[in-house]
Symmetry: C2
DNA sequence: CTGTTAGCGCATTCAA
DNA sequence: TTGAATGCGCTAACAG
């Protein structure tokens, strides 16, 4: 009734358990006819090797812990999909968890990963605590999208500053001087770097930075909508908005529409992170595209290479992937 | 250097391994001071119980295999997120795999789940083979979104026929008589049921069914765009399109825009499956909303209940969740 | 209340 | 080329 083990297989095929082990694991010598007999029995019994027992024996698994902020956000979903695909093509699989950006959840996930004896971890970190703990426990860990523990593990990031510089520069080039910036939570590395890109573009153009144009908000759509409203109320001279994530952009668009203002004609908008709806809008949303699929693939490959190459032997590497400014119709000269 | 085990803990705390086991697993009697001593040692050593060894001993894990078609599709991503959340709140976690709608991939995932000794499986099935194998192996399995093995396991579905009936009825009520239907791959239960809803709404309105208005395509965005183009070319009398998934709707919208036709004014459109961009469009896309979060939560709860209640004791249950027609601006009387 | 013993299913010595 | 023996880390009788 319960699932067959090598012992059942051994009895069925009339050989010892060791021999069965050799054929199912594909290691060691086994005479061809014996091998065939065992394989036959395996098929008959519907035998599937017990990965748990195997893992205990090998003291590691083929599982990789993947921790992202929010599966509902298409950016993270695509990232996870890319990680999964790369992992599977090399015989690994993924234990996926959402942190929701909460460090308690992140800690819980880290514990889960440790307990599961995963081969490694890929995470979009929330606090450096979890990363550090995992690294200290001897696990291979890769930080992705954000880096909170530089020098302690590999990281795969995008050029946030360059992307933000390009986006802001594009608006400035069109003649905008009062540009609202939707940033999400401060303190997150992506936010900090995108802010830096925005500021340095302003400096390059000789336009003064006005902190009033950078309202505080969370990363949520609704808060982005709210602060967009406040921004437009308090600063009617704002002619463009740079929303530094797909969700923030969504909030901004919702609010602009709610007020009956029209994108492009009344207000230019640039986003960060290209997601499908931005192409569907009319006009399409100009945005800084991230190489999301490459981000996930690179992280997974880095991890797998570390595993093959014997862990954290060499020093940590950091990949910075380039972004691309995708011009669509949502940006034009002000006051048109 | 390697991770501490109960043996290390036992030595550190000066007790036997069984006692350590009792305190870390929280089962059995342990004197308070001894307990404290062990917990102390655990903290000092950074001990985390080995879930693999535990699983081997218990002959089951706290992992649930989750198989969906495509993480990149917001419907599945949201579904997976809901499953994950419910699972985690009850101490389980998720091994997530993408089938991409391919039965080979599904088989591979089923094998992985079996090998991983998951407590149960939630899947959006591709072929009945995998479900059957899993059920035969004694696993608790829940089919979600589609049911391919009726009577063999629980299923959580939405009222596809009712939703399609409502959507089509809405268009008919506005006066449309020639309604294109984008269905995706035939043979998928969702497609079949949505087609049935479309047809019965036509019957109810006394409008003849024309198979020419139901072009063949896959579920991909690009193919949806292509067949939308062909449909509009061959049948200029079509005044409305019903796209039965969010991705198909995306393709239809892209093609309509490419031709410079305008939604609502030139052509009404109704979708199935409410995703964020449909609210962002102007006009917003009228659609049949699925209770996606509830779908995932219900599936997870059903699974967990089965596990608690001792497996597949009682007969399979099927949940049919209601859909809601969300009226937005993309539908109007024809020829306006 | 605590320790001893045995074994979950598998892979790996080591002998034969 | 095959089999016997051992142990991965943990839990569950059972005896003390």
């Amino acid at each position: 009734m319960s699932r067959p083990t090598i012992t059942d297989l051994a009895r069925e095929a009339g050989v010892s358990r060791s021999t069965v082990s050799r054929v199912v694991s594909g290691r060691g010598y086994v005479a061809a006819p014996v091998r065939a007999r065992v394989q036959d029995a395996a098929l008959r019994l519907g035998y599937v090797p017990d990965g748990v027992a195997r893992s205990l024996r090998h003291r590691t698994t083929r599982a990789v812990g993947v921790l992202i902020s929010d599966l509902g956000n298409p950016f993270y979903a695509e990232l996870a999909a890319a990680v999964d695909q790369t992992l599977r093509s090399r015989g690994y699989h993924m234990i996926l968890a959402n942190s929701g950006g909460l460090d308690d959840e992140e800690d819980a996930a880290a514990t889960l990963f440790q307990a599961s004896r995963v081969a490694g971890v890929i995470l979009a970190p929330v606090s450096k605590r979890a990363t550090r703990r995992l690294v200290d426990a001897g696990l291979v860990v890769i930080e992705v999208d954000r880096q909170l523990a530089p020098g302690e593990c590999d990281a795969v990031l995008v050029d946030n500053m360059g992307g933000a510089f390009a986006a802001t520069g594009h608006l400035l080039g069109l003649g905008h001087r009062r540009i609202g910036l939707l940033l999400g939570e401060r303190g997150w590395q992506t936010a900090t770097e995108r802010l830096a890109g925005y500021r340095s573009a302003l400096v390059a153009a000789g336009v003064p930075f006005d902190r009033e144009l950078v309202p505080r908000s969370s990363f949520s759509r609704d808060e982005a909508a709210r602060v967009t409203g406040e921004l437009l109320d308090r600063h009617p001279d704002v002619t463009a908005i740079f929303a530094t994530s797909n969700v923030l952009a969504e909030g901004a668009v919702v609010e602009i529409q709610r007020r009956g203002r029209r994108i492009l004609t009344d207000l230019s908008i640039v986003a960060f992170d290209d997601v499908p709806w931005m192409r569907l809008m009319q006009p399409g949303i100009t945005t800084v595209a991230q190489p999301t699929e490459e981000l996930g693939r690179t992280a997974a490959e880095l991890l797998l290479d570390r595993l093959a190459g014997g862990g954290a032997s060499n020093r940590p590497v950091v990949h910075r992937l380039a972004t691309t400014l995708v011009l669509r119709g949502s940006t034009a000269a002000p006051g048109r």
